[in-house]
Amino acid sequence: MILIVTFSLLLLFIFLAIPVAAALGLLGVVLDESFSIMPLRRAIGDMMWENSIEFLLVAVPMFVMLGEIMLRSDIAEKMYDAMAKWLSWLPGGLMHSNIGSSAIFAATSGSSVATAATVGTVAVPQIDKRGYHTPLFLGSLAAGGTLGILIPPSVGLIIYGLLTNTSVPKLYLAGILPGLVLAGLYSLTIVLLCLANKGWGGEKISISWSERFASLPNLLQPLFIFIVVIGSIYAGWATPTESASLGVLAALLLSWKNGKLTRDMLLKSFEGTMRTTAMIMLIILAAAFLNFVLAVIGLAAAFQSFIEGLGLSPFQVLLIIIAIYLVMGCFMESLSMLITTTPIVVPVIVALGYDPIWFGVVLMLLLETALITPPIGLNLYVVQSIRQSGPIKDVIKGAIPFVFAMFVMIGLVIAFPSMALWLPSLL
């Protein structure tokens, strides 16, 4: 009963286009009124405050600010140029540079949308210049961008770690290998499609080895940020939040060195940072209250016994959960999906005997898929709005091959859990 009421109300609110945060909060109030023995609303004040000052969540605005500063500091342009020199001999030319730049940018940024927007802005002008197959080129940008939440640092993994009480440094390590393999699968997809379809790969670019080596210093700047953010964690110097703060300082230093640090640029970065942060935090606060109510009225337990009552094997349950995420991902924005589902789904997964760190990686892959599946795939819209002309159908069509690459990746992580769990086991 509780299950049906909860899910149907949530779906109703969401499809009425009520802001996600308001939908979650109000659902909490309705459930509290109808099912809980004593009103929990009195706990709202305390809960809002405790979540608002949570040190782990301070990493969210820090990563957003890091991205905002990098975006305005010329770092992406130089990196793209270097990746182009090293990777464009492959069939598919600059599309590999799209993937490579996305992977590197992902290693300095915690967000998929920021990654797609940054690399996309630099890459899109190249389509017509070199005669690439437009849909595939756009698809590679939308898909490459999704690496942002899988390759550490990652805002998605931080929120997952907070909600499930798992270690963020371990989650970060778990994301590295699958992230690199996924980038490889993207490149493989491009190579295969360009070999099969003549003319998709654009004109050949020839580059001498001396040019290649000359471009290497352009990779030093993103490398510097990666070392500061990730290195400081594993050297045991800093917690994830502290490392994010150090990343902001490192980005600030680079933007100053590149001559981009101005008052105007800072104010714009602040605006972008605070808008995104406030939007995310409002959802997190509302979800925290809802999750509290759900725990008290026993929804997670009801869901668990419902799943057990089905009499399926753990593997079958896992497949069903993945299928639900894939369908949901077509219609829901990925961050809201992460925050609302994690507290309900992860206890079930753990009860089935799966590792929560491993599932964190699977969940990131599912969220990445959600980012490029229509009709609601944030990265599709990001790439489309950079391009500004032509139908969005092109981007959607071009992203489809990469969705299959993601399916392969999800299959690989399920078949070989050690891909995710080997690095964290060394910690």
Binding site: F15, L16, A17, P19, V20, A21, A22, G25, L26, R41, I44, G45, D46, M48, W49, S52, E54, F55, L57, V58, P61, M62, M65, L71, R72, V113, A117, T121, S232, T241, E242, S245, L246, V248, L249, L252, K260, L266, K268, S269, F270, E271, T273, M274, R275, T277, A278, M279, M281, L282, A286, F331, E333, L335, S336, L378, Y381, Q384, S385, I386
Partner: protein, 193 residues
């Protein structure tokens, strides 16, 4: 009159966002200093994490007004986009009321919390022993700004509904859609040089 108040409130919330961002940047410096001191000199400022939590709470709270004004809340508009305009406007109004209810809820219980803190003089259970009323009052004032923004926009929407000026209603509270949202973000990054 309402328009002029809106101008003033917009200015306040714009400045609040800048101050919030700057405060977070200062926090990054403080936390960075803490890490360096701890590593190199084996000593600690003490409480950098606690203070950054307070700054984070206040900075976020003072930015909510701008989110309401700029329609920055995530709305899933798959079904919404398929509906005829009158129904969409009805949903916009419903959504805006729901958002108001959420902020009223946060504001009401937040205020109760802060009132309790002030009356009992609660202090944080940390080495800093922060009198919690200070960060909490800054925090709840930010929520207050958000509520003021909501009330003002609600008044303007009511006026426009009475005048049947639906375009103005859409402009105030209509869904930007994800496309509009991203466009706004990109326009902003255009000026990155």
């Amino acid at each position: 009159m309402l328009i002029r108040t809106q101008g003033a409130l917009d200015r306040v919330s714009e400045i609040a966002v800048w101050v919030a961002g700057a405060a977070l940047l200062m926090t990054a410096f403080m936390v960075g200093l803490e890490v360096i001191m701890r590593k190199l000199f084996n000593s600690s400022l003490g409480g950098a994490d606690e203070i950054s939590g307070y700054v984070f709470a206040a900075a976020t709270a003072w930015s909510y007004a701008a989110v309401i004004r700029k329609k920055g809340n995530v709305r899933i508009d798959v079904v919404y986009n398929l509906m005829p305009r009158p129904l969409r406007i009805a949903l916009d109004i419903l959504s805006f009321l729901a958002l108001g209810a959420l902020f009223a809820l946060i504001g009401w219980y937040g205020f109760e919390l802060v009132k309790g803190t002030v009356e009992t003089g609660r202090i944080s259970v940390t080495p800093l022993r922060t009198p919690l009323s200070i960060p909490q009052i800054v925090w709840i004032s930010g929520i207050g700004l958000a509520l003021a923004m909501w009330v003002l926009i609600a008044l303007r929407v009511t006026g426009n509904v009475l005048r049947r000026n639906w375009d103005a209603v859409s402009e105030l509270i209509g869904s930007e859609g994800i496309e509009g949202e991203i466009k706004a973000e990109l326009v902003e990054t255009e000026g990155k040089s």
